[in-house]
Symmetry: C2
Subunit: 222 residues, 2 copies
């Protein structure tokens, strides 16, 4: 009986995700879903991104958090609309919660929506939110074994950001091992090595966004 | 309908946890449940602990992992029995899975069982495993806001380990802010500042174990 209910919930999520993806395609809005452990640097990455690209693109953030509005408040200074989904203990965002969040945004006035999922490497990977790309962020301080240990996310990711690269000299992290683990799961996924505190490697992230947005617009126009 | 099923599952978990707690009290075995984000240092803490206390106490480990036996293999050299629970994507351990794991251990020949839960700050906090203490591990690299952002775990923890204290000079981590966040949730919880790579602060952790074990034995004897 539990399995039937679970299937129903997952099926409803998939249906809703499909509708969201179609809506965003019609509106020519790109939406990406940032997934990582707690404290890997998602919010700091968004601070840097809103600061750097806020003039170039019309940005918005959907912020998923278990309990507080701390991350949402960190992003308030950047003049992009922010919708906070407080999951009240829930361990991941769902497509229905994203649908409700999108109703708070003017999609005709946006190019790109960032979803900051709940800090969790396990559950968010199982839920399609209607995004065009899942982005896995993992920091050097978490260890080189993370792709192998949390394979679902790394298998699905369209981009992997290896963050806190500035801390590499101080931690036990074997980069060759990390890439080997990752490539076994997802052979062609691009990887960006970044430090969101020093700014190292962020140009690559901004270029990835440029490229994705250019492609999205071209597909609609042609 | 979904809520009814969820209650049934949680109720069954609570019943099983109570039975486990009673069994362990009869057998005079202490069991502690280590919970943290991925990569906070649970396995490294266990390596250090099995190395340091393996002569003093009869130890065992129940290892929860989403997909691999990597952590279990890291603990194999230490001559303590290890039971691996592979959750096959599941985001936390449950009391029924612990009951099955305990059947693989000779409880009459043990003093202390460590549970290494799945790396996740959200879901494991909601499931009683019949342990005598939940221990929250958080590393300085994850940021000082973690207690406030993941309150359920930090509210329940009987001990908090602030790990990777050796990386403090290289990260943005406001210790006063961390303690303030934590104390709001759990006023009296002891906090140990450790580095599992340099060994700093581990004596405090070993003393905590000594004290817990002495108390457990005394309670049974008097």
């Amino acid at each position: 009986m539990e399995i039937k209910v679970l299937k129903k919930v997952l099926g409803a999520n998939e249906d809703k995700a499909r509708q969201i993806r179609q809506l965003l395609a019609e509106k020519q809005v790109l939406m990406v879903n940032l997934i990582s452990s707690p404290g890997s640097g998602k919010t700091t990455l968004l601070e840097q991104t809103l600061r750097a690209l806020g003039e170039r693109y019309r940005l918005a953030v959907i912020e998923g958090d278990v309990a507080t509005d701390k991350d949402a408040r960190r992003l308030q200074p950047f003049n992009a609309p922010i919708v906070l989904i407080n999951t009240e203990g829930g361990c991941h965002l769902t497509a229905p919660s994203i649908e409700r969040a999108l109703q708070e945004l003017d999609l005709d006035a946006l190019d790109l929506i960032f979803i900051e999922n709940v800090g969790n490497l396990v559950c968010p990977a199982g839920f399609d939110l209607g995004e065009q790309a899942k982005i896995a962020i993992v920091s050097t301080t978490e260890g080189d074994d993370k792709p192998a240990k949390y394979p679902l996310l790394f298998r699905q990711a369209q981009l992997v950001i290896l963050n806190k690269i500035d801390l590499l000299p101080y931690v036990n992290f074997d980069k060759a091992q990390f890439y080997e683990n990752l490539i076994t799961l997802n052979a062609d996924v691009p990887v960006l090595e970044t430090s969101c505190t020093t700014g190292q490697g962020l140009e690559g992230w901004f270029s990835w966004i440029d490229s994705k947005l250019n492609r999205a617009k071209a597909q609609v126009l042609t």
